[in-house]
């Protein structure tokens, strides 16, 4: 094969992948542009399209593929409309963060449904035999199916463009994305169009899923593997821009394909590097404008704010009691033989620290860091590498972890905090993915295996405890090194909480909160809003690094999965579940989440489904988190007379209703 035809084949391969991206990103972008909804579940709708088609085509035989190509996207569209009606719709007017949270819950639900119906392993989804043959064009052979994808994808993209720009439906959608209240005032029921738009976007994702499913195979992970690139494309092209989605999709498809062939090292990295580069030069993306959707984010973040019927005093007592209980657990575990509880608690403490770090930026500065696991993972790698190459001391390792993460947070913050809201979320996600993909590439990070078998010494310069050799006889029982690790961990987590609380109660914390309430007013008073946010981000990054470093040091290993975006999602879930903007709420959320995950996963297979459903219900009905439950209960008419007086003292819950009408 000549060089020219080799390049031509790469171009075609790139266009095939690009077309799939275009369809996926177009739906994502339209849904964002019109409704301000960042739909994390889009990847699962994509997978659902592939599986529906797989289920329809199988029994029908030869013509099955064609029937599936029409029916499956319609089904996915119906699912999309159902999702919009039942869940997404309830959150309009709230901060877009809640849609991220909601759709993250939906990811868990849909994904678990897919695996419980169709199993966990990938399955072949054959291309119809008519298309499953090479054709000779321009002097070389290339699969007819792939040509088909390019032609079909182009036609669908063109059709979508015509729908948006040449039809009444499209006109109303575009007008709604610019000024929905005005559209209502004209007498048009925009809600109905929202439902249709969501369904349409979902159907496009479904088509993309079918096309890719037959190109490769169908697997339950196909959704989570495309969603991040799809977001990158939407951000790269400009949020809400259809042209951006098309150009970005094809571009990313081509770049990825060429990188895989000619610069394998950059595969997986180049897309994120490109996104970061574009956003640094042009924060709104290639074709994004500041006009439209981004301008009317008038919903407020809902904060936990206080503990409902529990007074500050009661909360402090509960806190002491909690720490006290944690102190005696290892002894009890030894006595009762339930040593597993210590492992679980260590897990909880680590996640509690991680959630605490996120709350500093999410709950107090209003910054939605979607890639917070970047710091957790980097902290873990820094800690293990230090233990391996520099010093066996856990103290040194943790100091290095915190320092490295704080430095990276400063750098990421420098590039991303000047662009607000959704862009910040996407850039942090981009950086996290960049590091995730990068650790696979290097020998010193251990590639896909990670780094194993590291022992930490709990001391400095030879003075201290080596958990491997530590034993204390205690009557008939023996306390081992695990106890040292546990108490060290507990001390660090409690210390970090007290530090964070000190910081938030200092003037620094007040300024942060004023920024969260109104950036404009804070800057009018004379505060450098960007600088404050960046400092909070640095502290937060450092604490997240500490959490990752602790986990790695305690368990003696680190792996790429520490940097996987699912962690970022889970820590956000914990933070909101507990009640953001309270510091202790997210820690509580971490405890409940990790414990629930642990218990559920040992009893039922569909535990993700259960967690997903619970989470969706929480986002919709208890957006202020677990810490607000006492208040919510107290506000209920049944209890109002009994505890009403106490509740009156606890004013200060942010009322979104008031903010919204300003």
């Amino acid at each position: 094969m000549s060089v020219a035809s080799a390049v031509a084949e790469q171009v075609l391969n790139g266009l095939v992948v690009g077309m799939v991206y275009v369809l996926l990103a177009a739906g994502l972008s339209i849904i964002f542009g019109v409704m301000d909804v960042i739909n994390f579940a889009h990847g699962e709708l994509f997978a659902l399209g592939a599986y529906f088609a797989f289920a329809i085509a199988g029994p029908l035989g030869g013509a099955g593929f064609w029937v599936a190509l029409v029916v499956a996207p319609l089904l996915v569209g119906v699912v999309g409309m159902g999702i919009e009606r039942l869940t997404v719709k309830r959150l309009y007017g709230r901060d877009p963060l809640y849609h991220i949270l909601l759709t993250f819950g939906l990811v868990l639900i849909i994904n678990d449904l897919i695996t419980s119906v169709w199993g966990k392993s990938a399955q072949p989804f054959p291309v119809p035999s008519v298309l499953d043959q090479p054709v000779a064009l321009f002097g070389f052979n290339y699969s007819l199916y792939n040509y088909g994808i390019i032609v079909f994808g182009s036609a669908l993209a063109l059709g979508t463009w015509l729908l948006l720009n040449r039809t009444r439906f499209g006109m109303i959608i575009r007008a709604g994305s610019e000024d929905r209240e005005m559209v209502r005032t004209l007498g048009i029921n925009i809600d109905r169009y929202y439902t249709l738009t969501f369904g349409f976007g979902a159907a496009l994702a479904g088509v993309a899923g079918i096309v890719l499913g037959a190109y490769q195979n169908v697997s339950p992970t196909m959704g989570s593997s495309v969603i991040i690139p799809a977001f990158v494309i939407v951000v790269l092209g400009g949020l809400g821009s259809f042209r951006g989605a098309v150009v970005g999709g094809l571009f990313v498809g081509l770049v990825q394909t060429f990188a895989r062939t000619y610069t394998p090292f950059l595969e997986g990295l180049i897309v994120f590097l490109l996104m970061i580069a574009v956003l640094v030069v042009k924060p709104t993306g290639l074709f994004g404008t500041s006009v439209g959707a981004g301008d009317h984010h008038d919903g407020a973040l809902l904060h936990g704010s206080g503990g409902g019927v529990l007074s500050a005093e009661t909360r402090a007592k509960l806190g002491y009691a909690g720490v006290g209980a944690l102190l005696i657990v290892p002894l009890l575990a030894e006595v009762t033989g339930v040593t597993y509880s210590v492992t679980l608690l260590e897990d909880i403490l680590i996640w509690a620290l991680f959630a605490l770090s996120l709350d500093l930026v999410l709950g107090y500065a209003g910054l939605v860091s979607l890639g917070h696991t970047l710091f957790y993972g980097v902290g873990a790698y820094a800690s293990v590498l230090t233990l391996m190459h520099v010093s066996p001391s856990v103290f040194v390792a943790l100091v290095v972890a915190v320092a490295v993460c704080a430095a990276i947070a400063w750098g990421v913050g420098y590039l991303s905090i000047r662009v607000s809201g959704v862009f910040f979320a996407m850039i942090t996600l981009g950086f996290a993915e960049l590091f995730y993909n990068a650790v696979f590439k290097f020998d010193f990070t251990g590639g896909s295996d990670g780094l194993f078998g590291v022992d930490a010494f709990y001391g400095l310069a030879g003075l201290g405890i080596d958990p491997g050799e530590f034993t204390v006889p205690l009557g008939p029982f023996v306390l081992d090194g695990g106890v040292v690790q546990y108490y060290f961990l507990l001390a660090v987590v409690v210390g970090s909480y007290l530090l964070a609380r000190r910081l938030i109660r200092a003037p620094f914390g007040s300024v942060l909160q004023s920024i969260r309430e109104s950036e404009e007013r804070a800057s009018f008073i004379g505060y450098d809003v960007t600088a404050y946010k960046r400092r909070a981000f640095v502290v937060s990054g450092g604490l997240a690094g500490l959490a990752g470093g602790l986990f790695a040091a305690n368990n003696g290993y680190v792996a790429p999965s520490f940097l996987h975006w699912i962690n970022s999602g889970e820590v956000i879930v914990m933070t909101v579940l507990g009640g953001m903007g309270t510091l202790y709420g997210p820690m509580l959320g971490a405890g409940v989440f990790v414990a629930a995950e642990d218990v559920l996963s040992s009893y039922i297979d569909q535990w993700q489904l259960v967690i997903g459903v619970l989470f969706v219900l929480f986002v919709i009905f208890v957006p202020r988190g677990l810490v607000s439950l006492p208040q919510t209960v107290a506000d209920h008419p049944i209890f109002e007379s009994a505890v009403g007086d106490r509740v009156g003292e606890q004013a200060g819950v942010t009322d979104p209703e008031v903010d919204r009408h300003e």
Partner: protein, 242 residues
């Protein structure tokens, strides 16, 4: 035609959250007339319009339109009854062309009336007819104002609400807007106008309500109000004498 006013507002109390902006407004808009609301900033003029439309649900009082109680209707339903708004700051759709802006107005409004064609409406406005394919964002302030009026008119409304249509426009353009309001009224349109520019408000109006702190503090035929120097001075800080 009956003698009943087309729009009748009684005891309207409304506001945002726990803040009451309107403290009990009574007003009537007879068919074929131009009624204006004037008053200083923040006295509740725009809130009155928003409450009539349903953007701000009233907490007390009734709003009757053409014999139908529309007090609790949503904005889309109010528009379907035949009330069209030319909003403050015009709010044309910046990414839509002039034609599209008018087209989308034509989709709204009453379903049971014959509406003028988009072209016919655009042709009525000289400066719009020249820019049919320009995007809303690229029009001048005066052109945007005309477009906002065209977008409302194309739905063939029975009642037109105009919220500060001359705000931020050059004097020559203000004249054009004034002429347009007169023309519309000559053609029999019923208009409720909110206006900061007292001169424009009094010239255009048949009947005037002066609002202060969420209440109607003075009302009367336009020529009488124009002559009531002491009232204008007290509530608006202006005098028509000079």
């Amino acid at each position: 035609m009956t003698d009943e006013p087309l729009l009748s507002v009684r005891g309207l109390v409304s506001g945002y959250g726990s803040t009451r902006v309107l403290q009990g407004i009574d007003l009537d808009v007879p068919r074929g007339s131009v009624v204006t609301l004037i008053g200083r900033n923040g006295v509740g003029k725009t809130t009155t319009l928003r409450s009539i439309l349903g953007n701000v649900p009233p907490s007390e009082g009734t709003i009757t339109f053409d014999g139908t109680d529309i007090t609790t209707l949503s904005p889309e339903k109010t528009a379907r009854e035949g009330i069209a708004l030319v909003p403050e700051e015009r709010r044309v759709f910046p990414g839509l062309t002039v034609t599209e802006n008018v087209e989308i107005g034509r989709i709204g409004g009453r379903r049971d009336v014959e509406k003028p064609s988009v072209d016919a409406i655009v042709d009525e406005f000289e400066n719009l007819a020249r820019h049919r394919n320009s995007r809303g964002a690229n029009l001048s302030g005066g052109e945007q104002q005309m477009l906002a009026i065209a977008r409302a008119l194309v739905s063939a409304p029975d009642l037109l609400l105009l919220d500060e249509p001359t705000e931020g426009l050059a004097p020559a353009i203000v004249k054009q807007v004034q002429r347009k309001i007169e023309e519309l009224n000559d053609d029999g349109a019923t208009i409720l106008l909110v206006e900061q520019n007292v001169q424009v408000a009094l010239d255009a109006a048949d009947y005037v309500y002066i609002l202060d702190k969420g209440r109607v503090v003075h009302e009367g035929p336009a020529d009488e109000v124009a002559a009531a120097d002491e009232v204008l001075d007290r509530y608006l800080g202006v005098s028509m004498a000079d």
